[in-house]
């Protein structure tokens, strides 16, 4: 069989992982990379167990079973997502009906199916063509690497539901290649089969099956339910699906926190969504009616313009351009915007030009296509105001596990460094009771100011709130009496409350939008006082500021108060629970249960006799493969998250990191195979490899921050090879412990091989989710340190014999 067939299947499987991540981001969750990786590993693990029982039968009919698995991979790849979408899982309902988690389990099972068939292809090839094992590795890994990169490249041109057809094509092509090698007749038979399947699929409409059905609870669905609402522009790309909706009959009137004192109404708006959420608005304004924009001055985001005169403004996150318009309304000296997704700008400069009066044209507005942090690292420009629009928070708190590098302590330090003397940072967030995200952000600003030229943070901060939003102001220089007077005038005229300013009396904190207690003020004062640590410890939400090592600004979950909040959920306390963390824990339980059931249990039940006979050695084998399975995924997932800032987007990080790990871990495994051939029961190589992983992982993570800072502003053509070169040596040695350990087991107790395989598979499935959970609790450095300890334990468990 030509080994190109294996490349085709591997490429398809990896591309499919990436496409699933995009499809789920659109249809349901914000960020599910770890879950999709876990699902894929479950498919691979279950396949290992399946082959350990059915291998001889399947190998006896190799061509047929291989081709069938390749075809099934392609076909199920098309339909699995469509079927998974029909499973009525609603993450918003999980705490009302825990049975919802059963549906999450069903989604796991459905989505793992294509990976199961792909893994069958690879596993069958390894066992049937064992004399060519080195070559198979090579073709498998090259295919996987091409798939990981190709999965991103196709998204520049095609929508994910269209790109899935390429996965189908790869599965069918693999089957065709496999058949052609066995003569013309078999080849024609294969082609005939494929033609029939293709026609059937064309009739079924595979694109229709995979089109993401956006959750009815997402804002885009709500907008489209309005009478006479329609999509007027849409662009899909690797960073998201950008959709613009017009509502001709019922105006959008989107102005969160708008003061009741606003003298004029809102202009006509169109709504922009990214992946069906993150609504921002595009106002119809052609420069003719200045009153039409007055509303922009009656929102808390306008506060900085009352403290600065004709500022040079940088907006981080263009969206629908509301912040740009606000800057324009306030007569800003210059306005620049940074936007990560070029499709947003293409839409604003394309079909909406007439609606916007051309205000986004290149000669009128300077827009930098880059991540906010990358742009700031590469510019020498100074600004008077850096404005972050109210994005990034999901209303249910379900996005708590999404890393976000725009609100970390280091991010604030960068912003302060790019401001001119007297400049301001303004960040607006949705207001939540009791306060949590805003205070966590406040704490991050305090920490950043402490490292900023010996500043007294209490003199540099202010907060103003409406009933819907809260705006935090961070100044490079102490706020003056004039600043404070202006802020007070601004708030009074709009019936907004001041939540904090230097020297503010508590009595001023709760005048217009009255809370039972001035919690925002009390929290701000406590975070600036000597008892800050005690306050953060006693607070029932985690207010410790996010940093680049633990970049979860919207994760405020605390186990300590979870029980109390859970008990209050039916008493009107559901809003106290941020769903991200509980969903993650449930996913972990799910992954552990399913991997035990599908990978481990069959081995124990059907192959248990042989394993039991091995006594203590069995436990050492178990410990070793558990440790390296968990350790591998903890390192891999952490590197994906850590490199997200550097590469600009989680999907880019997944693509580059996965491809590098696959190729170089595979090379490591191939080299390990040669070592095994020389000395099958040698523990020296296995021990050295495991120790090398522990050392390289820790050293690598230590070296990364300065390397990242030095190259942050570089183009992708430099960043991607640097990331690859950084990961490659570690990935190479990480590929060795598994085959080396397996060789030791094969030499000493062959009956334990399925055990080793199964435990490693389980550990991988669990590790993918556990990595995120641990990162949220402890930070990336700690996760990699844990992984290093696991590798050391693995070395000990085999070495200690």
């Amino acid at each position: 069989m030509p080994l190109a067939a294996i490349s085709a299947v591997s490429a398809g499987a990896l591309a499919y992982e990436l496409l699933l991540m995009r499809l789920y981001a659109v249809s349901q969750w914000h960020h599910v990379a770890f879950m999709i990786i876990s699902v894929a590993l479950l498919g691979y693990g279950a396949s290992g167990t399946f082959l350990s029982f059915t291998g001889p039968w399947l190998r006896a009919r190799f061509r047929l079973t291989w081709s069938a698995n390749a075809v099934l991979f392609g076909v199920t790849a098309v339909f699995a997502f469509g079927l998974a979408q029909r499973i009525p899982f609603n993450p918003l309902e999980v705490l009302w009906a825990p049975s919802e988690f059963l549906w999450l389990g069903a989604i796991y099972l459905v989505l793992m199916t294509p990976f199961f068939f792909a893994a069958n292809c690879i596993g069958l090839a390894f066992t049937h063509l064992s004399s060519r094992i080195g070559h198979i590795y090579g073709y498998d890994l090259v295919g996987a690497g091409v798939g990981a990169a190709g999965g991103i490249v196709v998204l520049f041109t095609f929508r994910p539901e269209q790109a899935i057809l390429a996965v189908l094509g790869l599965g069918l092509t693999a089957a065709a290649i496999a058949n052609f090698a066995d003569g013309r007749r078999a080849g024609l038979r294969g082609l005939g089969l494929i033609a029939v399947i293709s026609v059937m699929l064309a009739v079924a409409g595979p694109e229709r099956c995979s089109t993401p059905k956006i959750s009815e609870y997402k804002p885009l669905s709500a907008a489209l339910r309005l009478p006479a609402a329609a999509i007027v522009a849409e662009r899909s790309g690797p960073l998201g699906l950008v959709t613009v909706v017009q509502s001709l009959k019922i105006p959008f009137r989107h102005a969160p926190g708008l003061s009741l004192n606003a003298p004029h109404g809102l202009p006509e708006q169109r709504a922009m969504f990214v992946d069906g959420a993150g609504m921002s608005t595009i106002a119809r304004w052609r420069g003719d009616d200045p009153d039409a924009l007055t509303y922009l001055d009656f929102m808390p985001e306008a506060a900085p313009y009352h403290l600065l005169h004709r500022p040079r403004v940088l907006v981080l996150g263009l969206g629908g351009g509301e912040e740009v318009l606000r800057a324009h309304y306030h007569n800003a000296h210059t306005i620049e915007a940074v936007e990560a997704d070029e499709n947003v700008l293409r839409i604003l400069r394309g079909s909406l030009t007439d609606f916007t009066g051309g205000r986004f044209a290149a000669d009128k507005l300077r827009v930098h296509i880059a991540g906010g942090r990358s742009f700031l690292a590469g510019t020498d420009a100074r600004y008077d105001l850096i404005q972050l629009p109210p994005t990034g928070v999901s209303p249910s708190g379900a996005g708590g596990f999404a890393e976000n590098y725009l609100y970390t302590v280091e991010a604030f330090e960068r912003y302060l460094g790019r401001l001119a003397p007297g400049g301001l940072i303004a960040v607006t967030l949705p207001l939540k009771l009791p306060p949590r995200y805003s205070l966590k952000l406040f704490a991050a600003a305090v920490r950043a100011l402490e490292g900023f030229g010996g500043a007294d943070p209490s003199k540099h901060l202010a907060m103003v709130r409406s009933w819907q939003t809260i705006t935090l102001l961070v100044a490079t220089q102490p706020l003056t009496v004039a600043h404070i007077a202006a802020l007070k005038d601004f708030a009074r005229a709009r019936s907004f409350d001041l939540a904090y300013y230097p020297g503010m009396p508590r009595a001023e904190a709760n005048r217009y939008n009255r809370l039972e207690e001035p919690h925002f003020y009390d929290g701000a004062v406590a975070l600036l006082g000597p008892d800050r640590q005690r306050f953060m410890t006693r607070y029932k939400f985690d207010l410790h500021p996010a940093n680049d090592d633990r970049p979860y600004p919207f994760d405020v979950f605390r186990w300590r108060s979870f029980h109390e909040k859970l008990a209050l959920r039916a008493q009107g306390g559901m809003g106290l629970i941020d769903l991200g963390y509980p969903i993650l824990v449930a996913t972990l339980i799910q992954a552990a249960t399913l991997s035990s059931l599908l990978i481990l249990a069959p081995l124990i039940v059907l192959r248990g006799g042989g394993a039991v006979a091995q006594g203590r050695f069995r436990w050492r084998v178990g410990g070793y493969f558990l440790a390296i399975g968990l350790g591998f995924l903890l390192i891999e997932i952490t590197f994906i998250q850590r490199l997200t800032l550097f590469l600009g987007h989680p999907l880019y990080a997944v693509s580059v990191v996965l491809a590098t790990f696959l190729v170089f871990a595979g090379l490591g495994a191939a080299v390990a195979s040669k070592l095994i051939a020389r000395a099958p029961d040698s523990r020296t190589a296995e021990r050295q490899a495991v120790l090398a992983v522990a050392v390289l992982a820790l050293v690598g993570l230590g070296f990364w921050p300065p390397l990242q800072d030095a190259l942050m502003a570089s183009p992708a053509a430099i960043k991607v090879p640097v990331a690859l070169a950084f990961i490659a040596p570690l990935a190479f040695v990480m590929g060795m412990p598994f085959p080396l350990g397996l060789a030791v087991v094969a030499a000493r107790a062959p009956a334990l091989i399925p055990w080793a395989w199964g435990i490693n598979g389980c550990a991988s499935v669990i590790g993918a989710v556990l990595a995120v959970l641990l990162a949220m609790e402890l930070g990336f450095t700690a996760v990699v340190a844990i992984a290093a300890v696991l590798y050391l334990l693995a070395a000990w468990s085999f070495g200690h014999d």
């Binding site: 609870y217 939400f541 039916a570 008493q571 009107g572 809003g575």
Partner: protein, 248 residues
């Protein structure tokens, strides 16, 4: 979306139904008992939260109204077995019928008596309007989604709440012909308080807005109109929760 429990219950329910074909009203005593239990749960929640910044206890007229309104008539048939459960229920179109306790809290917060004139923006299932009508309030309700509005109007007619005035349209502008109102409840998502609604509010009247994503109430916003026409806004956490440990 198919409710598994509803399907199972439905399947099981066919057995006794087949044995003795009972008229629909025969189920009513059972629902009445369920409503009594529902109200007992509401009272228990209110008691547990008596230190929350909300009026306590919940007025008996509100509880009495909720004892009378057949909530099961306001949910889709497949969710009927959950109608009196202590939770919000999907009603389609990305909307939910609020948890009974939240309905009681919001109604209580409106602070209305018999004969009050109330506007509801966001009819949804029609249940809240029925509760208001059961309080003898003259109720006007507007729904933006035609299908939901028409269904709710039909349900209100069918269940005898014929005095409720329903309309499909844009609730932003309120119901000027019927203004002024003693109270307005905005259950539709609102990014800001619509000024026309404040204009249609009587002096001393209240606008109540629940804020939060579907299935969750983060806070209740209450806008009161002062005698000079200005407004005062209160933001209320619907639960007794102190964010610092040791401050109970």
């Amino acid at each position: 979306m198919i409710s598994r429990r509803a399907w199972l219950t439905g399947a099981l329910a066919t057995v006794p139904a087949a044995l003795a074909a009972r008229p629909p009203w025969a189920a009513e005593p059972n629902h009445a008992r369920q409503r009594q239990r529902m109200v007992a749960v509401i009272e228990a929640h209110a008691r547990a939260n008596s230190s929350a910044p909300l009026p306590y206890p919940i007025a008996w007229i509100v509880l009495d109204a909720m004892t009378r309104v057949p909530r099961h008539e306001f949910v889709e048939p497949r969710y009927r077995d959950l109608a009196y459960a202590d939770r919000p229920i999907p009603i389609g179109y990305g909307q939910t019928i609020s948890q009974p306790y939240i309905v009681a809290l919001m109604t209580n917060l409106l602070n209305i008596g018999s004969g009050a004139k109330v506007l509801e923006v966001g009819t949804g299932s029609g249940y809240q309007a029925a509760v208001l009508a059961a309080l003898d309030a003259t109720t006007y309700t507007v729904e933006i989604i035609a299908e939901l509005g028409e269904k709710a109007a039909d349900r209100l007619q069918r269940t005898g709440y014929t005095s409720v005035e329903t309309r499909v349209g844009d609730g932003y502008y309120g119901w000027p012909e019927a203004a002024p109102f003693d109270a307005i409840i905005v259950t539709a998502a609102a990014s800001h308080v619509p000024p026309p609604l404040v204009a249609q509010l009587k002096i001393g009247g209240r606008v109540v807005i629940p804020v939060g994503p579907p299935f969750t109430i983060q806070q209740l916003v209450m806008v009161t109109k002062n005698p000079d026409g200005t407004t005062e806004t209160r933001q209320l956490l619907p639960v007794a929760f102190v964010p610092l440990t040791g401050d109970h």
